[in-house]
């Protein structure tokens, strides 16, 4: 068992099957689909609240998604812990300044990579809230409910992503 948990890689189909089951459990026990991006809105609102005071919670968007620690926030926290456990068990945990594929194409200076990651982060943060979900909330949990919004959004994620990646590399 321990040996299996320490493997560097599992079949993507096994992982997909597992995520599908987790979604079933989430629906059953929590009445919610697995989704991540709302947690970022909440955190952003919490940080804004720390800087600007409690009036931030009156913003219409934070009335919809309150800037407090909720289920989705704990889910994302759990994901960080889970990935840490997995990477530690397989000996893959290490501090990585620049990903290999990036450094092969653009060099290994962290500054450029971090600036692009930061700009990409801003854009994906806006896009996720604009579309009302991300690769998990729309891409997996929404499409499996056969929601039309999610199928359209997921296809657009990849259209935008593939075109942009082809332009960069």
């Amino acid at each position: 068992m321990m040996e299996w948990l320490s493997l560097k890689e599992w079949s993507p189909y096994l992982v997909g099957f597992g995520i599908g089951l987790l979604n079933c459990i989430a629906f059953l026990l929590c009445d919610k689909p697995l989704a991540c991006s709302t947690a970022y809105s909440r955190t952003s609102g919490m940080i804004e609240g720390l800087c600007l005071g409690p009036k931030v919670a009156d913003k219409p968007y934070y009335k919809k998604f309150s800037p407090t620690i909720e289920w989705d926030w704990m889910l994302v926290l759990g994901m960080i812990i889970g990935a840490f456990i997995s990477a530690t068990l397989s000996g893959q945990f290490h501090l990585e300044w620049v990903p290999a594929k990036w450094s092969l194409a653009f060099g290994n200076t962290p500054f450029l990579r971090w600036v692009v990651a930061f700009i990409g982060g801003i854009i994906i943060g806006i896009g996720a809230r604009w579309a009302g979900g991300c690769t998990s909330g729309h891409g997996i949990s929404g499409t499996l409910q056969l929601a039309i919004s999610s199928w359209i959004a997921a296809i657009c994620f990849f259209i935008g992503g593939i075109i942009t990646a082809m332009l960069i590399f």
């Binding site: 929590c30 809105s41 801003i122 943060g125 056969l146 935008g160």
Partner: protein, 185 residues
């Protein structure tokens, strides 16, 4: 049966954490918490992301609809519109390729030690989400409701029993995955 559990807020927070741990564990085991794998997918040279997503969709689609048939689950389809789903989706895609992670996989990336994910990406996502919250009232008035279709699902659109859609979608996804494997991607 689980209605009483759904409203226990503190317990729900614990369950959220307990679901997140295997979720992050699984994403890391598939390698999709790595920039190289995600960019490989967007460059169409590595299909791991699509394999994980589609097998999760088939499993979850059948499982959740079975639960629903037994009265154990309620669907929560998100509302959508051209202005929100298409434009937001395309914006997301541009960020997806620049960042090389998505809001879920970046949590896993941070967990395995990715510093560009932590200091670059996560900081960016928080700021982007903040910008959106600021601009939300205007966006909502002018763009987000353009060509609104609400919380519609495919079975509702075609006015059929969900299984009439689930079966062909599941078969289509399995065939697509078989084709991807056969092509050696």
């Amino acid at each position: 049966m689980f209605k009483a559990l759904h409203i226990k807020k503190d317990l729900q927070l614990v369950i959220g954490l307990l679901l997140g741990i295997p979720f992050g564990f699984l994403l890391q085991k598939a390698g999709v918490t790595r920039y190289d794998v995600i960019i490989g997918q967007l460059l169409l040279t590595n299909f791991t992301v699509v394999k994980v997503m589609l097998s999760a969709v088939v499993t979850g689609m059948i499982g959740v609809h079975l639960l629903r048939s037994f009265g154990l689950a309620t669907l929560h389809p998100k509302p959508g519109s051209f202005g929100s789903s298409v434009i937001g989706g395309l914006i997301f895609g541009v960020g997806f390729a620049l960042l090389g992670y998505c809001p879920g996989t970046i949590a896993g990336a941070v967990g395995q030690g990715s510093l560009d994910g932590l200091f670059g990406g996560m900081a960016g996502i928080l700021i982007g989400a903040g910008f959106f919250a600021e601009a939300y009232p205007k966006l909502d008035r002018f763009i987000l409701r353009k060509a609104d279709f609400g919380e519609l699902t495919l079975p509702q659109l075609f006015k059929v029993n969900p299984w009439v859609i689930i079966l062909p979608v599941a078969i289509g996804i399995v065939l697509l995955l078989l084709w991807i494997e056969k092509s050696g991607l």
